[in-house]
């Protein structure tokens, strides 16, 4: 297993390097002089020259990249042009808020999605299955923005049960953003679980288990689900990655102080060091989550471990 983990970790290096080239390139893909773009309308000449020098814009591009990469490896992503705070500090203060939201959303989505999928699959084409399928379809298709506002209108304005926005302490602030963020993930997980469970139920080993006289619950949850879960784990992992990056809209609606809003603000104000840092963080967390999913896979399916030896 250790060797497997090590191999997977080594495979991350080229991926992350590739991402870093693109992230660095962001600054140069946009038209115009980056220093001018960052400073905007009223910047005096000396400020412009100072920033050019600070960014090292007068050096050849590959030297600039290597310098940037060297610093990035030491977790120095430069300072935000806007707030003058180190980019790593900006990210470190926001990341927990987003992670919190994403973890809870995935947990809730999993807790809803897997049982709903199992129920659907064990009673195919029943009225319960039909309702769950329609709900899942609605969940996948509903625009996050609209859903967030509707939830606020129902639970904050009409019922007055929950605060409309903010992260000011207390579980009540989590409910609406977690539901908003988790809905589409829950729907995807439901659909995936239903599909893989339907397949698993018709496998030979399930028939064998039933023939052995095991009770139905044990057959479904011990035998069928364990095998049906593999693709579902992938979906959950992917969803988690999506949620980390996809929290942008949810965080904006609910005034949630996460990394998604940091990204939006940085892009809007052309704060390139922050944009680079956030994109890099998204990419690395996506890659890491994929790694964790792969490891989980290997844990769930011993055959995979053997293949890497």
């Amino acid at each position: 297993m250790a060797q497997f983990v090590l191999k997977r970790l080594l495979m991350l290096v080229p991926v992350v390097l590739g991402v870093s080239v693109i992230v660095f390139g962001l600054l140069y893909l946009t038209p115009g002089d980056p220093a001018l773009l960052m400073l905007g309308e009223h910047a005096p000449q000396e400020q412009y020259l100072a920033l050019r020098e600070k960014l090292g814009l007068d050096l050849p591009v590959h030297i600039q990249y290597l310098r940037w990469l060297g610093r990035a490896l030491q977790l120095d992503l430069g300072d935000s042009i806007r707030s003058s705070r180190p980019v790593t500090e900006e990210i470190a203060t926001r990341l927990p808020a987003t992670a919190e939201l994403a973890v809870l959303a995935v947990l809730v989505a999993t807790l809803i999605g897997i049982p709903a999928g199992v129920i659907s699959a064990t009673r195919p084409n029943s009225w319960l299955d039909n309702i769950l399928t329609v709900l899942a379809l609605a969940g996948v298709s509903m625009p996050v923005f609209w859903q967030g506002l509707m939830l606020i209108i129902i639970f904050s304005v009409y019922l007055g049960w929950l605060p409309p926005s903010g992260r000011l302490g207390g579980w009540e602030y989590f409910v609406l953003p977690v539901i908003t963020l988790g809905t589409s993930a829950a729907a995807s997980i439901t659909r995936m679980t239903r599909a893989t469970m339907l397949e698993a139920i018709h496998e030979d080993y399930v028939r064998t288990a039933r023939a052995k006289g095991l009770n139905e619950r044990r057959v479904i949850y011990r035998h069928a689900l364990r095998n049906a879960l593999l693709p579902v784990v992938t979906i959950i992992g992917l969803q988690f990655g999506n949620l980390m990056a996809g929290a942008v809209i949810t965080e904006t609606i609910f005034a949630w102080p996460g990394i998604g809003r940091l990204a939006v603000d940085a892009i809007r104000t052309r704060d390139y060091p922050v944009v680079q840092g956030v994109v890099m963080t998204f990419a690395v967390s996506y890659v890491l989550i994929n790694l964790i999913v792969d490891l989980l896979y290997a844990y769930l399916d011993p055959r995979l471990r053997v293949r890497y030896h």
């Binding site: 115009g32 003058s84 809870l104």
Partner: protein
Amino acid sequence: MHRFFGRTLLAVALALLVAATLIPGAAMAQTLVVAQGADAVNLDPHTTNDQASSRVRRQIYETLIVQGEDLVLRPGLATSWKQLDELTYEFKLRQGVKFHNGETFKASDVKFTFERLLDPNTRADAKFLLEMIAEIQVIDDYTIRIKTKSPFSPILAHLAHPVAAILNEKAVKEAGSAYGTRVAVGTGPFRFVTWVSQSHIILQRFDDYWGEPAKVQQVVFRAIPEGTVRAIELETGNVDIAYDLEPVDVMRLESDPNIKLHSTESLSATYVGFNVQKPPFDNVLVRQAINHAVDVQALVDIIYQGQAVRAFGPLSPKVFGAHPALEPYTYDPQRARELLAQAGYPNGFKTSIWTNENPLRIQVAEVMQQNLAEIGIQADIEVLEWGTYLANTAAGLHDMFILGWVTVTADADYGLYALFHSSQHGGAGNRTFYTNPRVDELLDFARSTSDQDARLKAYYEVQEILREEAPWVFLLFQTYVDGTRANIDGFVPHPAGHHYLGRVSKN
């Protein structure tokens, strides 16, 4: 599997519990909660010059001179001032003023503050506002003299701008790079307590404040980016004051008896600029024709939905020096066609309108496109990325462009000099490349004389010339709507947007 679910449930419960205990809820009594669209960026006035930060800093810091909501200049940390000669102003400073860290306010703090602001290494956005200062002399602990590089009469208005707030030398030096994010020390009615980035900032009443103490004990500034959510927070009573309400929300809140709406005419002008050096816009008749062709009132009513007033000239009526009786260009396509024919373009011409990605400006361009088509001018709309937009209009590559300007000091000098003086062509502000020796002369004169009546006269003449020569299509001045709960008293919005909360009370 059962065990797996059991463990995750426990984890969820634990996570929620931890989250619940992390941030203590603010005591709601005597706490004023204010919602704005963005979080502050930095509480050091010598960094960014954004509105969200200014609104918080205004409560923490004070300036030598205060510009009230009526835009009149009054004593602040300076009790009196006089002009000694053309270049020198002397200020007597207020005694017995304490900074939030217990230090006493003295002349050396003023010198330190302005020198820090002007130091290029500080990289202050708003450095240009005080760039006219040549030297600051400390005469004694409570007297300073400010010398300007050349005669500059609007200096008092510049010193009243929130970025000219006075910092405490010791606090700044002690805090180092933490100043502005973890530390902010001023002399104002509220002192800085904590800041949870992108969420909220908490200020506490400063008990040793020299002036009238603040009416509430605590102010919480919350950042709520979505306009509708900000309105809902006000509606549900979770916030006491919400800034910058959007037209669609205003319509709904108008009928709510628990909410008071405050509409303020701002200091910002939105205009269409011509490239007056490029044919056919070098012909004044063409520019006048376009001014007659655009249905400005329709733009104001339909696109801005009443959150703007029509502009007759370049300066909002609130600005010192604004012409009180400029005659507006009437919407008159027939007259426009005649002027165009006189100019030698009876069949119109092809041109382009540039704008950035601002949705309101794009709509303005679309309405203008229709208006111009009626008089035979075929205009293409080009939406440019902001950086390119600024660079290309500064380089003079445009025909027509839509931009805004905020006269932050509420003095005509700020609203006219950069935009119409021939020394300011391009990126400095004069993107129409307008040149008129008489306008230059008047603007230079008005900047250097301290005779306020003479200044007014000069500015009136400039505006009459500009109205006639029409380097702009004068469009509109935006108004801002803020909302408060009905139990909030004493909230008076400032036209520049940085509202003072020291007199606000909650009943």
